[in-house]
């Protein structure tokens, strides 16, 4: 075989290794009806076929047809068969694959429920194998893995930095002995936050008030390996938390307000690692909803009087199944709650998922496609926008400036802390 033929065979083998039964169904079943087109915020906002969900998947399908099906091998022209090393194809594939926010809105409206984002997982593997993985996502993933390897170098510094927040916590909960709990063997809850105290402090206050037996993970829940589509890296990043949960022997892994981290922990880790989690993963949203219902914490009803609206992060709602829990919590704190239309499983993606907020090269499509969300927010007349996903919050902050929305962007727990009735312990 010539080196070119060899390289092609390797790429095809890689694609084949990524195939599972459902993916084959998806690749064989799409009828190119384009009903999915108006489901995708990026296509609707740009009108560019590159962002039409079925077209994204079609790029992979054309390779699949030509090399992996009898009819395509016989008559590649009939399916516009393409080669996996074709530069034009790979360029297009890069733009469309890393732009996709994996919101799965297209899957919702497709008459065959085809999950385009899942086909694009194959595209990501192909891009990585041809040296076209997203650079910034690679860097972010590598540094997370590096942190896992040298955690001792990090913890001292991080905990030092967090001292100020602990001080604030003591002030708020009026308990001089309160603080963040580290490395607690046998704790009930391992709380996995994100980088930055804004995801730690509110949770710490709530845990303290609920009398929860918790400990703070040394690692952040976000996983750039997942966005990158590199399953080895993604697994290594998630593994850090799993190992920690095993070592500490916790009963639950509680995930902070981060959309993709919810899915990574509950759904993807077991596929990458071929093992189950050492403890069930529970969302902080379900936890807090439970605390309020059980009276473990008390919030002043209607404490927040400005109109509040709630954005369902795709990875928390449609793709994870939490619609009512966060709404219950938000409703408990405010007097004027307004849902957007559409909402819940039909809600529009904010446009910032899939790691887009970290990749400046996609700023254009990110801001354009955010228009749909911006219009929805405006229509509610809300002054506070709550959403339990860091990427959504960053995106909506950015839409706030770009489209002049004039809302305050907040996490669910921020509202809880605003409305909580502190009981001294």
């Amino acid at each position: 075989m010539t080196p070119e033929a060899n390289a092609r065979a390797e790429l095809l083998q890689l694609i084949d290794s990524k195939m599972n039964r459902t993916l084959k169904y998806y690749l064989d079943t799409c009828v190119r009806c384009a009903i999915c087109k108006d489901a995708c915020h990026q296509y609707v906002a740009t009108g560019d076929v590159l962002y039409l969900p079925a077209y994204r998947a079609e790029l992979i399908r054309r390779i699949y047809k030509k090399y992996m099906t009898g009819s395509g091998r016989l008559l590649p022209k009939l399916f516009e068969g393409r080669d996996p090393e074709d530069d034009v194809l790979l360029d297009e594939l890069y733009k469309t694959t890393y732009a996709c926010t994996s919101c799965r809105r297209c899957m919702f409206w497709c008459p065959f429920s085809i999950d385009t984002s899942w086909v694009l997982a194959v595209a990501k593997a192909l891009l990585l194998a041809t040296g076209r993985g997203s650079e910034i996502l690679t860097q972010l993933a590598d540094s997370a893995i590096d942190k896992g390897k040298n955690i001792d170098l990090y913890t001292g510094v991080i905990r030092e930095v967090l001292k100020g927040s602990e001080e604030e916590m003591r002030r708020i909960v009026q308990d001089p002995s309160a603080g963040f709990v580290y490395d607690k063997q046998g704790a009930d809850v391992l709380y996995v936050a994100l980088a930055g105290t804004h995801t730690i402090l509110p949770a710490a206050i709530v845990f303290h008030q609920a009398g929860e037996d918790w400990t703070l993970s040394s690692f952040e829940g976000s996983n750039y390996g997942y966005f990158l589509g590199d399953t080895v890296k993604a697994k290594a990043i998630a593994q850090r938390i799993v190992d920690e949960a095993k070592t500490l022997g916790v009963k639950e892994i509680v995930m902070s307000e981060c959309g993709h981290a919810h899915r990574v922990m509950r759904d993807f880790y077991r596929m990458w690692a071929k093992e189950e989690l050492p403890a069930p993963m529970v969302s902080i949203l379900s936890k807090v909803d439970g605390y309020i219902k059980d009276g473990r914490i008390k919030v002043t009803p209607g404490k927040i009087t400005e109109p509040v609206t709630y954005h369902d992060p795709c990875q928390i709602g449609r793709n994870f199944g939490l619609f009512e829990e966060p709404r219950n919590v938000v409703r408990a704190t405010c007097s004027d709650f307004r849902d957007m239309t559409p909402n819940r499983q039909k809600q529009w993606c904010c446009g910032g998922g899939g790691g887009l907020v970290a990749e400046t090269e996609f700023d254009d499509v990110r801001l354009k496609s955010g228009r749909l969300k911006a219009d929805q927010i405006k229509a509610t007349g809300a002054k506070i926008l709550v959403t339990p996903c860091e990427n959504c919050r960053l995106q909506i902050e950015s839409l706030n400036d770009h489209y002049d929305l004039g809302v305050r962007v907040s996490a669910v727990l921020d509202l809880v802390v605003e409305a909580i009735e502190i009981k001294p312990r």
Partner: protein, 239 residues
């Protein structure tokens, strides 16, 4: 029957049926040989339990309610197209055996009239829907998404339906003569009887059958496997 008719409205039918059935089985085996995904890919809200999931899957597959939600006109076109196609297929079964209960109810000439009206109406619905679907593919963004297979299938179907319309609206042959032809196929002695041969339909009948066979042969190797894939993918939706 001349040799062309004998081959393409005769033996080709057997080849087509074998390839169609064999091809579909092969396609299913091919799917089932691939390992299942380890990850659950369903989306929320979703019913629990295989019974509820299957019920939802069947509803999604046969009524595609999300499409109705998305666009009423597409839902109507797609629905009318598939329904007319299905009923047209059912109507053809009359060529194997007369629908006796219907005849008992409508009378012999009433039945003929009924068949003419329904068959004619479905033929027109199919023609209009196919032309619409074909023209739609030439517009943006559909043309960038479409591959030759999409046009080929639509043109093939349009030709089959057009020939069918010719038989229905211009043909002078009665159903019993067509039934003779189908019987000749079933007894492995393909033949047109004298009434067909002396009528104005041998060419359109032969083309109709030949293209329908080509369609059947291509079916299992094309995107038309969505007719079975839909059940699987819509079940994954609630996984």
């Amino acid at each position: 029957m001349n040799w062309f008719q004998y081959v393409f409205a005769g033996w080709f039918v057997y080849v087509a049926l074998i390839v169609f059935v064999g091809g579909l089985i092969w396609q299913i085996v091919k799917w089932r040989r691939v390992a299942k995904s380890r990850i659950v890919m369903g989306m929320f809200p979703k019913p629990a339990g295989l019974g509820a999931r299957s019920a939802k899957m069947l509803k999604d597959t046969f009524f595609f309610p999300w499409v109705l939600d998305y666009s009423k006109s597409i839902w109507l076109f797609a629905g009318a197209f598939h329904l007319a196609g299905l009923l047209m297929f059912v109507g053809h079964l009359r060529l194997i055996h007369e629908f006796t209960p219907l005849v008992a109810w409508l009378g012999a000439s009433g039945m003929d009239q009924f068949a003419f009206l329904t068959g004619g109406a479905f033929g027109i619905v199919l023609t209009v829907a196919l032309i619409y679907l074909l023209l739609r593919r030439f517009g943006t963004p559909y043309k960038d998404l479409s591959v030759p297979e999409d046009y080929l299938l639509l043109i093939l179907l349009l030709l089959i339906v057009t020939m069918g319309n010719h038989l229905r609206f211009f043909g002078t042959v009665h159903v019993t003569d067509y039934r003779d032809y189908v019987m000749s196929l079933l007894t492995f002695k393909p033949a047109f009887n004298a009434a067909i041969l002396s009528s104005n339909v041998p060419w359109s009948l032969t083309t109709h059958v030949m293209l329908a066979c080509a369609f059947l042969i291509y079916f299992p190797f094309s995107k038309l496997v969505h007719s079975i894939g839909a059940f699987a993918t819509n079940l994954v939706r609630s996984e």
